[in-house]
Subunit: 250 residues, 2 copies
Amino acid sequence: MSLPSMLFNALARRLSCCFPLDENDVRAVERLCAVPRRRVAARREFLREGDRPGHVHVLLEGWACHQVMLPDGRRQITAFHLPGDILWQPLGEARMDFSILALTPAIIAPIPTSALEAVAKAHPAIATALALQNRVAEAVLRRWLVNVGQRAAFERIGHLFCELHHRLHAIGLAQGNGFAFPVTQVELAEATGLTPVHVNRVLRDMRRQGLIDLENRVLRILQLRALAQHALFDPAYLEPHGHHSAAPSP
Amino acid sequence: MSLPSMLFNALARRLSCCFPLDENDVRAVERLCAVPRRRVAARREFLREGDRPGHVHVLLEGWACHQVMLPDGRRQITAFHLPGDILWQPLGEARMDFSILALTPAIIAPIPTSALEAVAKAHPAIATALALQNRVAEAVLRRWLVNVGQRAAFERIGHLFCELHHRLHAIGLAQGNGFAFPVTQVELAEATGLTPVHVNRVLRDMRRQGLIDLENRVLRILQLRALAQHALFDPAYLEPHGHHSAAPSP
DNA sequence: CGACTAGTTGAGCACACTCAAACTAAGTGG
DNA sequence: CCACTTAGTTTGAGTGTGCTCAACTAGTCG
């Protein structure tokens, strides 16, 4: 709890979850974000597969997601992003292999790649934090694959709820066990590889079991321990510090 | 075809698929790999979830895979790795969130992190190639999620075959449309989120349709175009050069 | 030769899908 | 202000893809 109170900048707050930053680092991050912001409406796809954006895109406010569309219209959401997350970082000639969509009205900081590189060079702690954040994002993606590949519908949704709660809590956006949850059931289905109808039924079951309470875009996890246990959620993959939260499988 | 004939080093060959290396770079990569090799038997899990290995692990010969095990024994393969791939790169205090298993007898080069960093600093092309390889690995992971989340069994397996053919071809390990394929049906099932029984039936159908020929650990794709079309395979995500191989969805 | 691993096939079942129809809430325009 | 639209959620009924359980074959190795 109680993040250092000076951390009003979303990126600095997020990075200091990955690696400790001193006041100097934090100020450098804040300066980095002092660029003309880009405001994006909810449900707008503001970066597209095939694009080659010239800036590092940092999400300062709101939720966003990564998605891949198949030619026949099927759609897979491959990541949810929260304030402080880096949505895309240009690298060489590489094109984006997915699109980015805002899930709420969002505020983006488009940072010149050169500026980020300069700051990373001058502040090793920031460079480390950025690399670790990237590593965690990859671990989350891997976990989603495990989810969709191995788990039943109930577990998939439960695991996703636990993951989001954990991440929101880390950046101070979860009051207790409740938090704003702007994801529709259709999007939840596209993220978990299920159909919207089935997602609805699973949510109904979770409510009946008293595990969650979800209405008006607010999700409250009533029995976090039970939900995590049922979904086989182990937050170790979200911690880049090398602490072990639980013993791995025997 | 015809890779530069001097590229006998698997890592150099792989990296030069991502970004052009000159002779100097190639020699630096070769020196980097001049460390005591680690030989691993087939089916040995040689790096485990929770470990914090001190070296960069490069696969020089053979196949390997990443896998995540759930406490109840379910297992998801999250990546296949081919010669020249980087299996794991230490970063800060981060622990591995998956295990690495050899699928054939394999040869690994454990490279000190500091040595790799020094070479990357002295050879910007190598640094770029490494970053791009990493980016491609992430794109492959994302595609696997799309596969398992959105595609039917036939498409999943077809897509995987197309991906592996493409990657093997790039490093010169596919003669025509045939290549050594050491993956068992059980492993194929664990990679695609299916059961071994169902994988078997899908393979039977593919054979009956004359799409593939798989026996004695050799896979031959008889109708690459047809298979790619049926599996909605678009290799754009495997190319870090920014070329567009096909138009994205309309 | 027995033990083990990998692959193959059959029969029956179930989890999640499809199709279809209400229903609610919020926004829009006449 | 109310009809109308649209997006999101909810429920029912029937279906099918892929799963489970089980048995059997073929190859390999000690």
